[in-house]
Symmetry: C2
Subunit: 553 residues, 2 copies
């Protein structure tokens, strides 16, 4: 029995875990989750989405039995639409998740029929040598599930993202008896969420934020606007109920949020959500009677929170005396965007409240003591930490060993054999990232994005060189600057200086050089960078275009 993470192990994002059972090299395979991660300006400017590199799996497509999706967060389901055609196997998940998966296939022009709704444990789904059952867990989205994966070599519990919540507001509370029952049949390996291994206190229940939110909304004099993750329907419900309790009409802004709630209602998961009004009606309601729940808790520039921070949005404007609540945490890397919004609201006189005091948000992941409790419940032969950066996986493995469990840190591409008494590394598989860039998938390491980063850091000099084919002389040089100071010290024009210097250099160059495009390009680049370095202190990226023309009739 093998375990091979292709994404999600050594990073937080783009989860994709392969399990295999069978003779070495002929294992039958299942894939657990198929998520994305999000680009950023530092490392992947202009990229739309980041996928795990599934080349290894695609080459072994004939051995793949099925895809199981634990829950509908983008880092677990986001790549299903873009990659299903490459895999073409059934997709199994619970009802809410299924609805999201179906939509993702439809968005790519695919039939949603590949998606199969499965019931929770003890229902089982066969997939080759695997029997898989969905164990309800609490997380920050409806119908999250761990997977109980039975094989002839034993049982694996793959937790997915989870926390232990005895009062989760929405969905099934943590049921220690049920978990013990599952453990009772013996667990070979626990493959376990590691996100919050550094959080030393036991996690708090989703229900604990209700009193503080209710008080806050009740005491607010003006309009109340709250943001949270669109898929956290339990939180949406808490926020909406707080609004309702304060006698406010509640309006949801942001398509992602409206769609999530609608999916929750359509699948029968959300039954008693307070009434919500349309934005068209919201504009005519006195601000002290209105509560907005909006997208954009991470400072996303196009989400409703950012739009409101820039002024009027859909007829609504915040002002002095209004309240804006971040019922969320800021994911590392998003700080600047969130802070920008906070300050924009501050300039409007809006009071901004965030979770810095820990009152208005709880995490969806199990903290260190909760992880220890789960280790104790399942008493697995081995623990495999997943869903975490390297430091989280390593710390989680250490925690498990302290508790007497075998453990191994396996980052993306590390194939473990789980059959023996301890996990054993049996192979390293090439993995990586694939970028969705416009409509193209490009490799993270193929240099395209590297070139963009270089242009952003260094600016661009584009130089067109005209070479007369007959006499083989460089007739004209045209330089254009983009993203650079146009003038150097003393007001000299950079483009002109470059044109003159390149012209000089080519006129002095040997006849033979002009016949060789590569040599011309290298010479032009060298001269142009030297001039730019002297004039403006930068070494730009140089794009050289050589045009050869003939003067003879």
């Amino acid at each position: 029995m093998i375990y091979l993470p292709l994404g999600g192990a050594g990073e937080i994002g783009m989860n994709a875990y392969v399990y295999g059972y069978g003779p070495k090299g002929k294992e039958r395979l299942i894939l657990v989750d198929l998520g994305v991660t999000f680009p950023d300006m530092d490392g992947s400017p202009g990229v739309d989405l980041i996928f795990p590199d599934l080349a290894w799996l695609q080459e072994r497509r004939d051995r793949l039995e099925a895809i199981f999706i634990t829950h509908a967060h983008e880092d677990h389901i986001g790549a299903i639409g873009q990659f299903w055609s490459n895999l073409q196997v059934p997709v199994y998940c619970r009802k809410f998740t299924a609805r999201i998966a179906e939509r993702k296939l439809e968005e790519q022009g695919l039939s949603p029929d590949a998606v199969h709704v499965v019931e929770r444990y003890p229902a089982r789904t066969g997939a080759g040598p695997f029997e898989v059952s969905f164990l309800p867990v609490s997380h920050s989205i409806p119908e999250a599930a761990g997977l109980i994966i039975d094989t002839p070599a034993g049982r694996v519990v793959h937790t997915g993202d989870f926390k232990l919540d005895r009062s989760p507001v929405l969905g099934e509370p943590f049921d220690p008896d049920l978990w013990s029952e599952i453990a009772g049949q013996g667990v070979k390996a626990l493959v376990c969420d590691s996100t919050n291994v550094y959080s030393r206190h036991a996690g708090r229940s989703e229900a604990t934020v209700m009193p503080a939110i209710t008080d806050l909304v009740a005491g607010a004099p003006g309009m109340v606007v709250a943001t949270t993750f669109a898929s956290n329907i339990a939180r949406l419900k808490t926020l909406a109920e707080a609004g309702q309790a304060a006698g406010r009409s509640v309006c949801l802004l942001g398509r992602a949020m409206q769609r999530m709630l609608r999916t929750g209602v359509e699948t029968g998961i959300v039954t008693d959500f307070p009434p919500v009004i349309d934005v068209e009606d919201a504009v005519s309601i006195p601000r002290e009677n209105l509560m907005l729940i909006v997208t954009g808790s991470q400072g996303e520039r196009r989400a409703a929170s950012a739009q409101l921070s820039r002024g009027k949005h859909l007829g609504l404007t915040l002002k002095e005396g209004d309240l804006f609540l971040f019922s969320s945490k800021t994911i590392p890397g998003n700080e600047r965007g969130v802070i920008r919004i906070m300050n924009a609201f501050s300039e409007m006189g809006v009071d901004v409240i965030d979770d810095s005091m820990g009152e208005y948000h709880v995490s969806g992941h199990a903290n260190r003591p909760d992880l220890q409790e789960v280790h104790r419940i399942f008493r697995p032969q081995m623990l495999i930490p997943m869903h975490g950066e390297h430091r989280h996986l390593r710390e989680h493995a250490r925690l498990a060993r302290e508790g007497g469990l075998a453990a191994a840190v396996a980052v993306n591409g590390t194939m473990l054999d789980l059959s023996g008494p301890e996990p054993e590394v049996v192979d390293y598989v090439e993995t990586g990232r694939v970028y969705l860039d416009g409509s193209r998938k490009i490799g993270a390491l193929d240099g395209i994005v590297r070139d963009r980063i270089r242009m952003a850091l260094n600016g661009v000099l584009a130089i067109a060189v005209l070479i007369d084919e007959e006499d083989e002389y460089a007739a004209e040089i045209y330089a254009a600057v983009n993203g650079l100071s146009e003038t150097g010290e003393g007001g000299r024009d950079l483009a002109e200086e470059v044109e003159d210097a390149v012209s000089d250099a080519l006129s002095r160059a040997k006849h033979k050089l002009l016949t060789d495009d590569d040599a011309v390009e290298a010479e032009v680049r060298k001269v142009a960078r030297r001039v730019a370095s002297d004039d403006i202190g930068k070494k730009p990226e140089v794009i050289v275009q050589i045009s050869r023309f003939t003067t003879a009739p």
Copy 2:
């Protein structure tokens, strides 16, 4: 009496505050601090440093009496070298700060004679109608000072960056009697650091981190490496003493840190720092007897911590069982860089400890209760919050009003008259940011950096168009792609497709269009973007170069 922030109010960074006294429009001026802020990939890729726009002050240079620098952090002193020539007035600061200021002038080829060392309160420096005295405050760098600015209109206390520390490890402890004495003569306005207004508990002393650090180092089995801000010499001392107490040789890595310590020793401020060894000697010391103190607490790619995280650095390599301590906090926006280093160390088997539990770092800024204490000590007629984002200034003003003080939020460019019983806005001055980009200063809003960001997001198509002057036809089109997928759906070559489409369009274009460079450029851009959008789903930046040649002899 006027107050005009040109930088630092409405942001954290590039502090520059103007005070004026005299008839309206003829006030004599002083400048307090002249700092920089640091660029980032999101908003200012490729930029070297960010300065406040001093145009207003430069135009009134004849009215400027002096520059006072509160302390030697880059956001208070970093622009002195680049802008002194534009201002040319004496620079006053305490000894340690003066040494740093002198170096900055020398680096720009200027004489350090403009810098004057002043003694602490009660010593006074006259500057036109101003009498200025340096009040020692605790911060996270030696010899930080607040300024007591006396004018005929009354006394202003400008706190600079400060905390209330009764045991600061280095420098003068907080002296409430002295502060009360200063307050006793009446304070018109308190212009006050707002950074930590949201930190609800009283700040902790620098000395409080000593026991935890000492224990941690004493218990470490392998090499110990600690990083903190290079200028926090008190912390360097605590770390070095912890190393010494554990019987370790101590070595400082990183030029900024070595220079800071040297400056501290040369100025006689640091007298009992434990002995440090050179890196050449460190390599031969057993790892359990060695402690490194290194630069790079913010994940800077070229600093010692990042170098060590990438492997061997100056002959030193970390490995399993070693310990790396971040005795620092991560400044918002630097999270990704810090996390990258943490994970790199984790991969080496190095244990990484940070301040997430609040044991190994304390802030250098006054927290909310400390601010309230300072309000009470000085009992000013009005409070002007500075050194903070808008939300910090606004919250600080609110806090002051709760305590019965008049207060006003004045962001960069807001000129306040402090003469009356309440601060009054009398003018708005155009302010902004100037970028140091290579060797050039460019305006933040002049489009250069915007173009670089666009290239990073959209990629570049450079298109050279050859037009025959005689017959006025487009002879050749050359397209080059940079930072874009070279092939579209079906493997079509993007550059070729663009060349064909542009060629087509220009051959069909009216004769008149070809005579007009702007029209040709617009047409080429339109066609190229359409093709790219169809082929690869992106709309690149297009650089068009038109070459006109003549076939006639």
